[in-house]
Symmetry: D2
Amino acid sequence: MDFSTDIKIRGFHIDVFGHMNNARYLELMEDARWQYIDATNFQDYLTEHNWGFAVVNINISYKRPAHNGDIITFEVNMKRMGNSSMTVDQIMKNKKTGVVIAEAEVTFVVLDLATHRPARITEEVKYAFVTPK
Amino acid sequence: MDFSTDIKIRGFHIDVFGHMNNARYLELMEDARWQYIDATNFQDYLTEHNWGFAVVNINISYKRPAHNGDIITFEVNMKRMGNSSMTVDQIMKNKKTGVVIAEAEVTFVVLDLATHRPARITEEVKYAFVTPK
Amino acid sequence: MDFSTDIKIRGFHIDVFGHMNNARYLELMEDARWQYIDATNFQDYLTEHNWGFAVVNINISYKRPAHNGDIITFEVNMKRMGNSSMTVDQIMKNKKTGVVIAEAEVTFVVLDLATHRPARITEEVKYAFVTPK
Amino acid sequence: MDFSTDIKIRGFHIDVFGHMNNARYLELMEDARWQYIDATNFQDYLTEHNWGFAVVNINISYKRPAHNGDIITFEVNMKRMGNSSMTVDQIMKNKKTGVVIAEAEVTFVVLDLATHRPARITEEVKYAFVTPK
């Protein structure tokens, strides 16, 4: 696995049905991705180039409910690095039981914030993305 | 189209990249689904049976950014009604330009809130779901 | 009253205690303030000057819980327009029963987005703020 | 200080003005309060009695903007424990610079989730609240 982090579910993540709301999964998965990037040189590389991210597709399967107080392990794995987009696999597991809560494929482009156009993902970009700090 | 509603994007929907954040799309799409249900008899039916919804899969493609002040038209179309799950197509368009902002397939089960098990989606359930109030 | 709008509470506004979460009140109150501004010339005025808002204080009293499906009337009243800050009173009422859900005083400055410094609130600014479109 | 924790600001906490949105402060302050409670016996005590929290007032002053990537230290101090409500002081500081980002007084009651009425905050309740695990 490329990266893993734990996040505890709080009362404000829960919705009227007593489980974590479907949209909150995406915020917490985004948090896990930023933590992954924090562990690499990639944020410096983004800032240098005035680049950001734009998510182009998310395919998420909700397997089991997450409840208030659950500690969830978020795994992030780089699945594919193309010339114009990248896809990461994200798996959420209940830390205590190991049960899979959700699985998602998140595909994004690297965005030039000046032109609002996708940047070409060269070998140099890929290298910066996976190089530990 | 089965249902359509307009929602205006606000400053708190935007993230650090100046566009609507990917997780917010899901909240607004959920709002549109509730508005659809408000227009049918289905909420009464749910309450009567102590049932709720559980989303099991979302496949969303982000096509164009949405900005502060944009008015977005949310279309909701029932795509498939099976015995154990239903899928709706949701399309977000910029109301002014007609440009597609995002497309999503949202699959959910009807959940028995007492047993936390999916309810069987009988012909009666399907009928309640699509009957206008 | 200067402005009033209705917003329906949805499942994702609710938290683990079965009521609207305290932070969500602020998002919906912000939405009501934007709707108020939409009804005046002030957004044009802001855009022209490259100005935005910065909230400096919120004092909110939560009086009664809001539940899924409640329609809440948001009243916005300009309370004070000083030279460097403005205060609006915001009252949330259950539309059906008239019961007060929450009351808040929201104080903000007008921010020059180039310098990130508060702009002086001249008579012209005040006039733009309250002039209906 | 009674409790302190660090939280890193992420892209989805930021709004159209490039700073953390006013409502997000309340979510992160709530997270800090739950972390405080995790460090005491109080959650067990709540669960045993079928009790929850209801916030009755928040008075928050936003002092300086928080930006993407900032690490914020959240301090939580019990200010007042009455018979029917409690007030905590919450201070947010930029961890690197020590600059105060926001200060808030949060007043809440302990809620009986069966009757939806506030519970009396006896000496035993107060003791459970402040006893480290």
